[in-house]
Amino acid sequence: MQLQLSEREIIERAGLLPAFPSVVNELLQTLDDENATIGALIQLVGRDPVITARVLSIANAAVMGSRIQRDLRDMQVAVSLIGLARVREIVLGVSLAEFSHESRMSHYFWEHSLAVGVAAQELARVAHVSPDYALVCGLLHDIGQLWMARFHPLEFQMVRMVINAGDEGCDIQEAERAYFGVDHCFVGGVLARAWKLPEAVVAAIEHHHDEHPPGEKLVAVTHVAEALTNALDLTRQEEARVRYLSQTACTLIGVDWTQDLNYLFGRIEARARYLGKTFAPA
């Protein structure tokens, strides 16, 4: 039977998911705050013992075998050794990995989200936008699907069957609208607003499948990152498909496919594997 999901139902049921990690919002706010200090980041991280332990563990792994022979237990030292940007990346990746794990997200779903996150980070460097914002957009771009799978597994499975049947021109959003009344981009947008994520992240989640996405770089980066993740077959899933790619989005972020992009592709492939190990749920 066709559902007609409403914004109210989406938000009400989202209350049954684990709490969205507030550190993500807080960290993104520090990026926009010129007065934010390393101390503020350390304080943020220090509030969550799980994330603190993971940051210290990764920092310890990074210095292992070096001349610095000590067991890192101090966040200030960890930040100074592995760098602020890396700590931010770890905090975002680990907190969203924990959230996904607690939300019972499938392994494939997490792998795909992480791969899009890494591709978005790398494209963000080309487009001169924040790689941290891009990572969050990539990690959360399909969050609407997680909600659908969790609360309406039967309908979600029906959509997968339609997609996997591989009918020519079969579009995931059309299939979702047929079973849910709305698509995962809409559901994801509602969730992102409810979690008070920045409007740029909400827009990226809502519009990443648009054939003509709005002219915002983060939306364009997320849109192209998903196509690139599938084209590079980063998750090696049979159902990976590239159906469309906005020329406007490519132009906006400055990607020219006729250039030698081997280094960019290699970097994305290798980093996706590396961060897959780094962010794996404990």
Binding site: A62, V63, G65, S66, I82, G83, R86, G166, E168, G169, C170, A227, L228, N230, A231, L232, D233, A240, R241, V242, R243, Y244, L245, S246, Q247, C250, D256, W257, T258, D260, L261, N262, Y263, F265, G266, R267, E269, A270, R271, R273, Y274, L275, K277
Partner: protein, 108 residues
């Protein structure tokens, strides 16, 4: 023997591998560590790269495949790519460009 390039996460890199592209690591926008293409990696240089947060390396190595085997591998990659793009209109310049760029990468 033919050579081919591979991009590996730092965790998969071992002593004796050879850099296939120059390496430049930067911190705060300033390059503070460089190695030339052709550098044979040692335990020390791998540790130095890891310490400077290098996450991946481009490695060049002997390609033991025969011409026929390389051709067969490329055909296999192309078949997979064709499957991934089976519902895409390759007359669209952006899609065609992405398809060709990925195929070129798989031919390395």
């Amino acid at each position: 023997m033919n050579k081919h390039l591979r991009y590996l996460p730092i965790s998969d890199v071992v002593e004796g591998m050879v850099l296939g592209a120059p390496l430049a690591l930067a911190e705060h926008g300033i390059t503070n560590f460089t190695l030339p293409a052709g550098h044979e990696l040692t335990e020390t240089s791998i540790r130095q790269i890891a310490m400077r947060h290098g996450e991946f390396l481009c490695i060049v190595e002997d390609d033991p495949r025969s011409d026929e085997e390389r051709e067969a591998d490329l055909l296999r990659h192309k078949a997979r790519l064709d499957r991934i793009f089976s519902q895409a209109n390759l007359e669209h310049p952006a899609l065609d460009g992405l398809y060709r760029a990925v195929l070129a990468y798989r031919s390395l």
